[in-house]
Every structure is written in C-alpha cells, then in structure tokens.
C-alpha cells in the first residue's frame, strides 16, 4: 500500500508528522544535528526563553528517579537578544517549523517576549510556559491559577500575530478548568503536560539531591498521568492538543493520539537516545503502514471510551 499520511496541522502550523521536540530537552536544535535529521520531524520547540539571560539554578540540577528524572535547571537561557542573534539564524536554515517556548518572571515580561518575537522570520509559533512563579506576586505559579493564566494568555495573544500554544501544568486539581480558562483567553492550542513537582533525597547526607530542593518529574513514570490529562482535556475543550509525558517510542506516541492529541512532544527520551524524535516518527508511520491505516488524522481521539 502507499505510505500513510502522517501530516498534521496545529493552529496553522503544518507539520510533516506529529512529532515535536519538547522544550528544554532539545536545546536549540543544533545540539542534535549530529545524531538525527532535523528535517525528519514535525516541529522543534526551543529551550524556555525569557527577556533577559537567565542564570538558572545552582547544581546539582538533575537526578534520576524510578522510571523518570527530576530537573531543576531553573530555566537557564540566553535571553531574547542572544536567541535572535545567535540561535535563530541556524534554525531558519532548517526546513522544520520552529516553535519558541517562552516564559516571564512577571506578567509584563510574557508580553514583551511575545512582541519581540512577533516580527521574527522562522518562528512558526509560540509555546507559553505558565508553569513558573510570578516573582511579583509572592511566587504563585501562573499555571495553577485560572485568573493568572488567563491574564498571561490574553497579554501574549495581544502581543503576537503568531499561533499561541499554552503549555499546561499537571500540578493542579482540575486541568480541564485551566484548559478552558486558557481557551477562553485566546489560546490556539494546548500542550500538556509539563513536569510534576517532586523531590529526591540523599539519605546518607540527609539533604535533598537537587540544590533547588524540588524539581520537575519527567519520563516514563508520568505517562499514565499525562495520558489521563490529555484525555480529559480533549473531551472537554475544542482546541487541538499536543500530548507530552514519558513518550519513549511510537506506540507511546500513538496512545496519546488516541487519547485526543493531534501531535506529541518527545522530551526525556532524547536524553536516552539522541535520535529518539526521528525514530519515534518512523515507528509511528511503520505502525500505520502495518495496520493499513491511511492517515494519522483518523486516529486522533479514536479511543473507544
């Protein structure tokens, strides 16, 4: 039979397949060029970007946990100026849509970063990370409060003509409530999940392993929670969804598609296998071919539940 049609579109961003790289796990793309073909996947999402360069947290910043890992990088990044001058040019020459993940330490910063990126060639869309504290308001996390999240999304929406993807935090009682809030505020798509907050302890030293004490849990361990949240949101919100969380292979990825995701992101898997994103895209296509499923679109939300 002929090749399955793996192409999908999210908020106007056309992708050759549903596989994206998750922010913070794929650097600025170039780091993986020796290990895979960057033009074999659907889209690349860059490391969380802020207005000014960000130092990030002291070390240790990462630790392995059962079936997962904790990270407390602290959103270290080069800042918008260096991104535009040093990182973006390389990405502009790769024939794969680039989505810039951004965040702000204050509400205003979100708006500024968004507008600074608005004019930029080769930025196909924005992914807004709301899983970070508002330094102005005693560190309450934007992504755990519907009002705060809405303000962020509205402001970003106002400051860009590019597609706005909002990335949801799983550390909430009701992810559907957060999803609806972001949808009402003008989000074009939703990506979920970000990491679950956890800690690891060094028993002998009687200290947390991470200098930051808490970190974000990622990897296979969180897959069941991620699938559940994607499924809940897909049932209750009309926006296209990008599924994230513990995806290690094509079968994992297709489970998220069945649960209602239009595309997926590969995060921690890229650390285990730097060509994971390309491999997963190939594994997904091979599955469709084997089962004689003509197009990936027919699997989106096809879970019988």
């Amino acid at each position: 039979m002929q090749k399955p049609d793996m192409s999908v579109e999210i908020a106007g961003i056309k992708m050759r397949n549903p596989v994206m790289t998750a922010s913070g796990t794929f650097g600025y793309g170039s780091e993986f060029a020796d290990y895979m073909n960057l033009e074999s996947i659907g889209a690349m999402i860059t490391k969380g970007l802020s207005l000014k360069p960000k130092a990030g947290n002291p070390t240790p910043r990462i630790v392995e946990t059962p079936g997962g890992m904790l990270n407390a990088i602290g959103l270290q990044n080069v800042g918008i100026d260096a991104f535009i001058s040093k990182k973006l040019p390389y990405l502009q020459n790769v024939d794969t849509p680039v989505i810039v993940n951004l965040y702000g330490n204050t509400l205003e910063e979100y708006g500024e970063v968004a507008s600074r990126l608005d004019g930029q060639q080769g930025v196909a869309g924005l992914e807004v990370n709301i899983s970070c504290p508002n330094v102005k308001q005693g560190g309450i996390v934007f992504g755990t409060d519907p009002q705060a999240a809405q303000e962020v999304v509205r402001l970003v929406r106002k400051n860009t003509s590019k597609p706005v993807i909002v990335k949801l935090s799983p550390n909430v009682t009701d992810v559907v409530l957060m999803a609806k809030a972001c949808a009402d505020a003008g989000a074009d798509a939703l990506s979920l999940i970000n990491t679950l907050t956890g800690i690891a302890i060094d028993l002998d030293r009687r200290r947390p392993v991470l200098a930051n004490i808490t970190g974000g849990l990622s990897g296979p361990a969180i897959k069941p929670v991620a699938l559940r949240m994607v499924w809940q949101v897909a049932k209750n919100v009309k926006l296209p969804i990008i599924g994230i969380g513990g995806i290690m292979n094509g079968r994992d990825a297709l489970e998220f598609i069945l649960a209602g995701a239009t595309a997926i992101q590969v995060g921690t898997a890229s650390f285990l296998d730097p060509s994971a994103a390309q491999r997963i895209a190939a594994e997904m296509e091979a599955y469709l071919a084997e089962k004689q499923i003509p197009s990936i679109a027919s699997l989106i939300g096809a879970l019988e539940a």
Binding site: F26, N71, I73
Partner: protein, 269 residues
C-alpha cells in the same frame, strides 16, 4: 556519534574496579584523550539515564582479535558505585551496549618538550592512560602521580610503566607507595617547563589547581557532573565559569565545554 558495541571483556581488576573492552567503529580513532562516552546499560527504564565514562583506551585490534568483525576497540575503567555500574559489571562477552562517543572536549597536549605531568585520584586515572599513550607516541616525557585511599584504589600502574611512564604512587593509608595525599608527592616534583593533566575527585582537582597556580604550571582538569543528555542540550551538568556572577551568568557545560578545562576557566570556591 551513536553506535552499538559488543562487550569483549569485562574484568574485575581490584575489588569493585572493572576494565571493560568493547568493539568500536573506526571513527573513534579520531577521538582525543579526555573525551568520554555515554553508555546505555540496558534498553529499559531502570536505570533510565545513560552513564558517562572517560575513554580509558581506544585502538586498533591486534591481529588475534580480528575475528570479531570490528577492527577497533574502546575501553573504559570503572568503579562500581551504584545501580548502573553494578549492572554494567554483570555484562559478559557478547552483550551489546549503546554508546555515544566521542563526547566533549579532551586534553590539549600543548607544545612538545615540556614534561607532561599526569595526576590521577582513584578512578580518575581512567582517562589518563589514553592520554599517556598518545603523549608517549609523540615522544613526550610523561610522569604519572597516582593517588588513592588504599592499595585497592591504585590501578594499571604496570600498564603505564610499560609505556615508559615514570610513576609515583601514594595512598592515604600507605598500603601502597608513599603515605599521604597525591598532591603532597606532586608538590615535591613540581617545577617549570611542566604541564599538568589531572582527573579525580573535585577536592583533589582544586588542590592540584592551586598548586599549579602557585608554581606557575599550566594545568588542565577533567571534571565530573551529573549528566542527562551529554550533548549540551539539557543544561544539567553545568559548572560556574571563573567570571560567573548571577547578573552575568557564565555557566559551562561539563559535557560539551568540558569535561577537560584549563584550571583558571572555573570558579573553584
């Protein structure tokens, strides 16, 4: 580069210390001493992350090995400290592992004619053997200062001597070589016209760096940090550069900017 390689041998040299030889692609011959590999012990989620190990040796097979397909081999010298290395020590001839290598920035050999001083603490010796081999090939004069807690931590000295390297061994408890810290022995021999290449626990590296500075001897150190990606993407393995401040952050990735640094590149506080 990412490749599968076959375990050829995996031998316990002294309690808890293993030397493992694996097949490797020809391209690995282009690696330089001080570079490392990231090894995936099992194709499962426990342990999840790759484990970094320095290149202990890389070379062409001597004919008698020619049977096994590959023409090139890589070796690591490792200490069993936790889950991953314990599992690693259970691998047999014929088992396959997935590798990323060569990774990072290796040692800069520097002008010839100087005395090349290698300083290794415990398992820190690992990358120094590959370095010594290359230096000797170039006809350099090489001395090795190897330290450890006790005699079991002193490895492969004969291998170094077979290369013609002059070796100085010291142990904290005096069970082998001089009693005392490797840096004490080192200081007695430091002089001009030397260049230090050092690998071991961070406190030792700090002491070596200070000694080097005091005697005006250029010094490179090979650092360790927890790593996830090994390719400069996750920013998990960073260290503060000499001029790092929170306003002007200057973090260096051990996996990409290192693991080998000039001692003055780093903030030692």
């Amino acid at each position: 580069m990412q490749f599968k390689s076959m375990v050829l041998s995996n031998v316990e040299l002294s309690p808890g210390y293993f030397r493992m030889r694996m097949t490797a692609p020809q391209e690995l011959l282009a690696s330089s001493p001080g570079q490392f590999l990231m090894l995936r012990v099992v194709d499962a989620i426990d342990p999840l992350l790759r484990r970094p190990f320095g290149l202990f040796d890389v070379g062409l097979f001597t004919p008698e090995y020619a049977g096994c397909g590959a023409q090139c081999y890589a070796e690591i010298l490792y200490k069993v400290v936790g889950k991953g290395t314990k599992l690693l020590s259970s691998l047999h001839h014929g088992d396959l592992v997935d590798l990323l290598s060569p990774l990072g920035r290796g040692f800069e050999i520097g002008p010839s004619g100087e005395e090349k001083i290698l300083v290794g603490g415990g398992i820190g010796l690992a990358p120094l053997y590959y370095l010594a081999k290359e230096l000797v090939k170039k006809g350099e004069k090489v001395r090795l200062f190897a330290g450890g807690r006790n005699r079991d931590d002193i490895l492969c000295i004969t291998e170094f001597e077979r290369l013609g390297v002059e070796t100085y061994v010291s142990t904290d408890d005096g069970t082998l070589g001089d009693q005392g810290l490797v840096t004490e022995v080192l200081e007695r021999h430091l002089g001009s016209g030397m260049r230090i290449f050092s690998c071991g626990p961070t406190p030792m590296l700090k002491a070596v760096a200070l000694l080097a500075q005091k005697h005006g001897v250029p010094c490179q150190v090979s650092m360790e940090a927890y790593m996830a990606c090994g390719v400069g993407a996750c920013l998990g393995c960073v260290m503060k550069g000499a001029n790092h401040t929170d306003e002007n952050p200057d973090y260096r990735c051990v996996c990409k900017d290192g693991p080998v640094f000039d001692s003055f590149e780093l903030q030692w506080s």
